[in-house]
């Protein structure tokens, strides 16, 4: 029997898992139109790799990973790319993000699929393939999987933790997945084990999922993988908390599990890796729990990009539904616009009703009862953080380790005053990020300003030197060669040379003024006759360039107007 460790705090909310966990997962019908946000993972958004109008096959890459932390996006079905335009995406801001719009042709035709022999290829190549397959963590944070295993020199992984805890109420996708696809999950774990080189593999599952535990135990019997049953306590499925429970080690504040020789992945991610490695399928679908105020709560396999409305329709929302939660009730996102597309992070859709999710009573002042501090799994003092966040004292919130907050919601759950603590923390975090961005741009501005002043100074000096030399040369050789006019603008030079004019002799300045006056006159003419004059007398090459730019602009305008049109419904809701 493995010794388990415990983390500080934690809560026991009502589980509500049996509603959806007892029926087998089914598949959602193919949607007519799919919308694929380019930003479905932590890090940089993906870079569009298709053109509007392209016909694509199921599994074809639509957008590639961009930069170190990023992942690719694939076509969930075969069809035509109808647009690359903003569309509302699941985000607390309710703003839109750039999405690829795909119209399915109903054929659902795959690209040529081939399994990978992962043992045969170097690790870096395998990591690249995972990135291009769009494999990201399906536990909720959607951290690109390949980044977790791209180790810095000197780092190594001793323990691989597979997260099957699924501690948040209502959600049962991992439970169902483990019951139905334990073999596949274990295949995926084998790939991760190979990648990490970990000697020890631990699968942590909460003790409220006996069937999943039994299924995983049976599947792991032959492999060097240990299934560990952990007590039910929210948030034991938090990465840091599960690592602590299983290994007793704490991920350092501000660090990653690899700092302590641990890698952690979700069971659903392992299953997705199995689908990719053994079947060649990139990440184009995921399993989601649809529950709450619906007639048939269940788990559904849904293609990424499917409108949420069609997913909810499978479970038939009951009357009295007043909005939905995307994700779990502790950390999820409130949505009321079901046009939003299914994304890789969405593990649960809960239909809210006044009965299941009564609106919180009005907030009362904090009485410093410290129930939040007792519940905090990160050992924070939420009552202090709240106090500072409320008074916009962001420096203090950082001193009190605001950024170690995992936003699990345990504090707000236990608060007898019903203060929206987590919202205060999110507010403070985004304010701090904003200030950091501003401080950075202020630093850049300061440098640029200082350099500019230095440059102006330098140019003045150079001018003076040149003048002195010229005079000397003129004295030395009487038959003077007329010096080239310094104002002759060289279009290839940097804009700096124009500054010479300012410090140049009166003639130059007069010239300048004359030209400006002329230009002003021209501009006025322009206003009168619509045709802009600075595009007259152009070489064919220039003309071609201009046309190209104009088409690009037109496209942008179109996108912008689409964005406006698409934003409307989400705002009015």
């Amino acid at each position: 029997m493995r010794t388990l460790f415990r983390f500080h705090g934690g809560i026991h909310p009502d589980e509500h898992k049996l509603e959806s966990s007892e029926s087998p997962a089914r598949r959602a019908p193919l949607a007519k139109k799919l919308v694929l946000p380019l930003h479905q993972h932590i890090g940089n958004g993906a870079k569009v790799a298709v053109q509007v109008g392209d016909r694509v096959l199921k599994g074809q890459m639509l957008a590639g990973a961009q930069g170190m932390i990023s992942a690719a996006i694939h076509a969930p079905t075969s069809g035509t790319v109808t647009a690359v335009a903003p569309h509302p995406v699941p985000h607390p801001s309710r703003l839109g993000g750039l999405c690829i719009h795909l119209e399915s042709d109903g054929e659902d035709r795959w690209i040529a699929l081939a399994p990978l022999d992962f043992h045969a290829m170097p690790k870096s190549e395998l990591l690249g393939k995972l990135r291009d397959a769009g494999i990201v963590g399906l536990g909720g944070a959607t951290f690109p999987t390949h980044v977790k295993y791209g180790l810095a020199p000197g780092q190594r992984i001793d323990t691989l933790v597979i997260n099957g805890a699924e501690c948040e109420p209502w959600i049962t996708t991992d439970d169902r997945l483990m019951r139905e696809h334990a073999e596949g999950i274990v295949r995926g774990i084998e790939v991760l084990r190979h990648l990490s080189g970990a000697a020890e593999v631990l699968v942590g599952i909460e003790d409220n999922k006996p069937q999943a535990i039994a299924a995983m135990r049976a599947a792991c019997a032959a492999a060097p993988i240990e299934v560990v049953v952990v007590p039910t306590l929210y948030p034991s499925g938090g990465e840091k908390q599960l690592i602590r429970i299983l290994t007793g080690k704490e991920v350092p504040s501000g660090g990653r599990p690899t700092n302590i020789g641990v890698a952690c992945n979700n069971v659903a991610t392992a299953y997705a890796i199995h689908r990719f490695v053994d079947h060649g399928e990139p990440m184009i679908s995921r399993q989601v729990t649809v529950t709450g105020n619906v007639r048939v709560p269940q788990n559904i396999e849904v293609l990424i990009g499917t409108p949420l409305a069609e997913v909810v329709a499978c479970a038939e929302a009951l009357p009295g539904t007043s909005g939905y939660i995307l994700g779990g009730p502790m950390m999820g996102l409130h949505v009321d616009d079901l046009h939003l597309p299914m994304v890789k992070s969405a593990n649960c859709i809960i239909a809210k009703s006044g009965q299941l999710f009564p609106p919180p009573p009005p907030a009362m002042p904090c009485i410093r009862c410290t129930r939040c501090a007792q519940a905090c799994p990160a050992d924070l003092q939420p009552q202090d953080l709240y106090w500072f966040a409320k008074s916009n004292n962001f420096g203090k919130t950082q001193e009190f380790h605001l950024f170690d907050c995992i936003e699990c919601g345990a504090c707000a759950y236990v608060c007898p005053s019903h203060i929206p603590l987590v919202q205060y923390f999110r507010f403070a975090k985004s304010e701090i990020w904003q200030r950091e961005r501003e401080a950075q741009s202020a630093e850049v501005a300061r440098e640029r300003h200082e350099f500019r002043q230095f440059r102006i100074e330098r140019e003045k000096q150079e001018k003076a030197e040149r003048l002195a030399q010229k005079e000397k040369a003129a004295l030395a050789a009487k038959p003077a060669v007329p010096a080239p006019l310094p104002v002759a603008a060289d279009p290839n030079a940097d804009p700096d040379n124009t500054l010479q004019m300012r410090v140049d002799a009166d003639i130059a300045r007069a010239n300048m003024q004359m030209r400006i006056d002329a230009a002003v006159a021209r501009a006025k003419e322009q206003a009168a006759i619509v045709q802009p004059k600075n595009t007259d007398d152009l070489t064919p090459h220039q003309q071609a360039e201009i046309t190209e730019i104009e088409t690009r602009r037109a496209k942008l305008r179109e996108i912008a107007s689409h964005a406006g049109a698409d934003d409307e419904p989400s705002k009015s809701n």
Partner: protein, 191 residues
């Protein structure tokens, strides 16, 4: 009596020597206060404070010649930080000096005549272009100081508000259910 005097003089000479030595030995280059103030200022170099840039304003504050509430781009937060740094009281913005929403300059490329006047006005070299060539704002470097708007002879520069998108969206301050609203209601009634 004389001994006492001599001792006192001796001590004062010794202490004076120590002070003089440390003044040379531990001399601080420049005025550290100016650097600290400058670090708080937003570096827009906009001149709205009446000084030709953030550094000169910082110097004026350090000398006690300027008030701390002359920097609209720094916002109230900036005043608070200055007040904190200098150990003086917070001072609200004066009339007409309230901070504006952040914006960047935008050049209407159809109208631009390529006169380079805006290039010379830009304090952070955030405008690309050359004589008779169309100019463009490098939006990521623009501090929104508006100094280029005035010099343009054809009025082709306008300030565009930075739109809110997912990357710069901020969580709103939570609405606190118990804040009294009756005061505001009264104000509305009164007005």
């Amino acid at each position: 009596m004389i001994t006492a005097l001599l001792v006192m003089i001796g001590i004062s000479l010794a202490l004076g020597a120590v002070l003089g030595f440390s003044a040379i030995k531990f001399k601080v280059e420049g005025n550290p206060l100016v650097e600290k103030i400058d670090a708080v200022l937003p570096q827009t170099q906009c001149g709205q404070c009446g000084y030709p840039g953030c550094k000169p304003y910082a110097e004026a504050i350090a000398k006690g010649e300027a008030d701390i509430n002359k920097c609209p781009p720094g916002g109230e937060e900036g005043i608070r930080k200055l007040a904190d740094l200098l150990g003086v009281d917070y001072k609200p913005f004066g009339e007409g000096a309230a901070p504006k929403a952040k914006a960047v300059a935008f050049i209407d490329e159809q109208t631009c005549i390529g006169c380079t006047l805006c290039l010379q006005a830009c304090p952070v070299d955030a405008i690309a272009g050359a004589a008779k060539q169309m100019h463009t704002i490098i939006a990521s470097e623009c501090t929104g100081c508006e100094l280029c708007v005035e010099p343009c002879p054809v009025d082709c520069i306008s300030m565009k508000l930075i739109p809110e998108d997912i990357s710069n969206w901020k969580w709103p301050y939570p609405v606190y259910a118990l804040t009294p609203v009756r005061n505001e209601a009264r104000k509305v009634e009164a007005s």
